[in-house]
């Protein structure tokens, strides 16, 4: 239906409302935000006025009130447009969006290098690029368990930890190093540890995925969530308390960094820079790490896209839709769930091994529940089952937090002690609430069919189930 006449907007009334709201805000915040008590070096209490903060808050309230009034007035008499039957743009977004994102990611380090120079580029490639890619990979891995198989896993970080510790412990193990030094040559383990341990870490994580899978097979919904949560905590507590094994809180340090397929990134004559005739710079290692995690993440995406089109992937989705119907069709739900847990965990393990290699130091602090929650939030926010959604959500959540650290100019307004990064959980929470209101099924919620006869029609989120647990 078309709107016949434009709604009349009474600007005078809007302005009046805005002023009134600003006065109320001033009254409320004048003392709370306008002044701050502080201690001087002589232990004297002094009152620090913060007029800029106060006025900016009052100004924001004024503008916000006018905006709300305008929005309400412009909606009056309007009839909501009919929903499109199928969200075709989502299909297009998946089809064209993913190659575009991949192309951008491949070009990203070069682009940053050109714009920010070798010194500034490290931060952008490491803190933004690598950090976000790790979460994209974890999101894609968890997406297999939560998005496809519909099993709510709150302890995914456990597999990340298993992967990280497997690599760290094997790579720093003296017996293995000595044994290989005698067998092949000095320095072999240091150079090749990452590439040998990467698959091992994945296999061990998959093994632990099956170990977790077995006892929780009968559980559904809330109960499954609680047990997986407990599993994540158990792994962390074991790592903290079994000091002989994992060195407890102190963690494991001087983990060998990945080499360029045997060529280390150092300043020696044997190093990467010398061999390729470049001037030594730490940027090469960072760029290499970026491409390693990019390759790992793309492997995860390719495998999970492929698996969806195979019988096992269809069985996962069927399991999410209706477990009893699956069993009536002869699908072994135990094995199907275990493969979902194992494959999801394996990618978590790969990411963990990469994390340990990139940091060079790990401790149980890195594997707290908050990490699981964040990975799950990425999957849920992105839209369960959607690969592109996970990318967007990771950039928003992880990149957004990193961006907060860059907002130094806010200190001009809010004083020197102001650190926007401290508000990340608040912003994160607000984002989640807004998402639940506007897009409860995630950013990209429609489902793409795995097989079709005549034309591929997108399945709207209204029909797709979230799974029982």
């Amino acid at each position: 239906m078309e709107r016949t006449e434009k709604p009349v907007i009474n600007w005078g009334q809007l302005f009046k409302d805005g002023v009134f709201a600003a006065i109320v805000a001033f009254g409320l915040f004048a003392l709370m935000l306008g002044f701050k008590t502080d201690q001087t070096l002589n232990n004297e209490m002094v009152l620090v006025p913060r007029p800029m903060l106060l006025w900016s808050v009052v100004g924001l309230v004024f503008l916000a009130r006018i905006a709300i009034g305008y929005w309400q007035a412009s909606r009056e008499g309007r009839i909501a447009p009919p929903k499109k039957a199928t969200a075709l743009w989502m299909l297009k977004a998946e089809k064209y969006g993913l190659p575009m994102v991949i192309g951008f990611l491949v070009a990203y380090p070069m682009f940053v290098l050109l714009t920010a120079g070798p010194q500034g580029a490290i931060k952008w490639i490491d803190n933004f690029g690598i950090q976000i890619l790790i979460y994209i990979m974890l999101g894609w891995g968890l997406n297999i368990v939560v998005g496809l198989a519909g099993l709510l896993d709150l302890g995914y970080v456990a597999f990340y930890a298993v992967g990280a510790y497997s690599y760290a412990l094997f790579a720093t193990s003296e017996p293995i190093k000595d044994f290989l030094a005698q067998l092949i040559g000095e320095g072999f383990w240091q150079a090749w540890a990452f590439w040998i341990c990467l698959p091992v870490a994945g296999i061990l994580a998959a093994f632990w995925g099956v170990m977790l899978g077995f006892p929780v097979l009968r559980l559904r919904g809330d109960y499954l969530a609680i047990v997986t949560l407990a599993f994540g905590e158990i792994i962390r507590l074991v790592l903290i308390n079994w000091v002989d094994f994992s060195n407890g809180y102190a963690g494991i340090s001087s983990i060998p960094r990945p080499s360029f397929f045997g060529v280390p990134f150092n300043a020696t004559d044997e190093g990467f820079s010398a061999k390729f005739g470049l001037e030594f710079s730490p940027i090469y290692r960072t760029i290499f790490l970026f491409y390693v995690i990019l390759a790992l993440a793309l492997l995860t995406a390719a495998v999970s896209m492929r698996l969806r089109r195979l019988p096992v992937g269809r069985a996962w989705e069927a399991l999410r839709e209706d477990e009893i119907a699956c069993r009536s069709l002869g699908i072994n739900t135990v094995n199907t769930k275990l493969t979902a847990f194992a494959i999801g965990a394996m990618f978590g393990g790969f990411a963990g091994a990469f994390f340990a290699a990139r940091q060079g130091f790990i401790s149980p602090e890195s594997f707290v529940f908050l990490e699981s929650a964040q990975i799950l939030a990425i999957v849920v926010l992105g839209g369960m089952g959607s690969l592109l959604g996970v990318v967007i959500a990771s950039i928003l959540l992880v990149g957004g937090v990193e961006l907060l650290r860059e907002l130094d100019f806010l200190k001009l307004y809010f004083g020197d002690g102001f650190d926007p990064a401290q508000y990340r959980m608040l912003i994160f929470g607000i984002c989640m609430v807004l998402m639940m209101l506007w897009k409860p099924r995630g950013l990209i919620s429609a489902r793409e069919p795995t097989v079709f006869l005549k034309e591929k029609k997108i399945v709207s989120a209204d029909h797709v189930k979230e799974g029982h647990g």
Partner: protein, 303 residues
Amino acid sequence: MRAKSDPILRVENVTMRFGGLVAVNDLSFVAGRGDITALIGPNGAGKTTVFNCITGFYKPTVGRMALRHGNIDIDSHVEKLTDTSRDSLNGTGGSLFLLERMADFQVSARAKVARTFQNIRLFSGMTVLENLMVAQHNPLMVASNWTLGGLIGLKGFHNREKEAIETAKYWLEKTKLIDRADDPAGDLPYGDQRRLEIARAMCTGPVLLCLDEPAAGLNPKESLELNALLRSIRDDHGTSILLIEHDMSVVMQISDHVVVLDYGTKISDGTPEEVKNDPRVIAAYLGAEDETEVQEIEAEVGL
């Protein structure tokens, strides 16, 4: 009625207790191969419980359910099989399965018993075609070398998948759903969903198809179409059908054999004609207390 001459399923002394409640009490009956066997009875008689026992969703408290493939002689083999701890036996001319020993998914995968549900259980977020592909999970899984072959894109799997799509197409045409193959199953109207559930069950290649109230909620025209579909499944595919149904127009027209349950106990067993005239059945449906009252009712309705 081939229950005696060529049985496919023999249910013996099945009892199912839920705590103090006896849902099925010492039920024995035989379903013939190539027959449509109807299981009827008033609400709460235990029909669906019997179905759940046969398809492995419940383990009966007491009882034996023997299903045969091929021409293996049930009588001479079933005792031998029962004495072992195994759930199946391959003999001359076929194999024998003890359904009460098998897990639910094995009843479908190995014993080839497919079922539908009283309240439809489709994969509503998947398309109609995908629903039928999921039903062919086990052969496709083998063809994909348990995922590994499929992952690297072996040709064998590709061909097998095409075959599976052909099978799905066949059943979609048979159930008149071919035009909606790419729509989500949750988008279909109720009658279509019922037919899709039957098509999905048939895609597993069953020897025995168990239908739990397939005509519930269908209009008379749809009921007639369902009759034709079930007859075709029986005649063209040799699949035996076990059916729970309240709609007597369906039951009396297409069944070869009717078993009547009341309060978990079998009260009648025979051809539709025999059952229709059984005073105990009339009593159960009309609610008479004893024989004399039954006779009064019979006189009233003119039997």
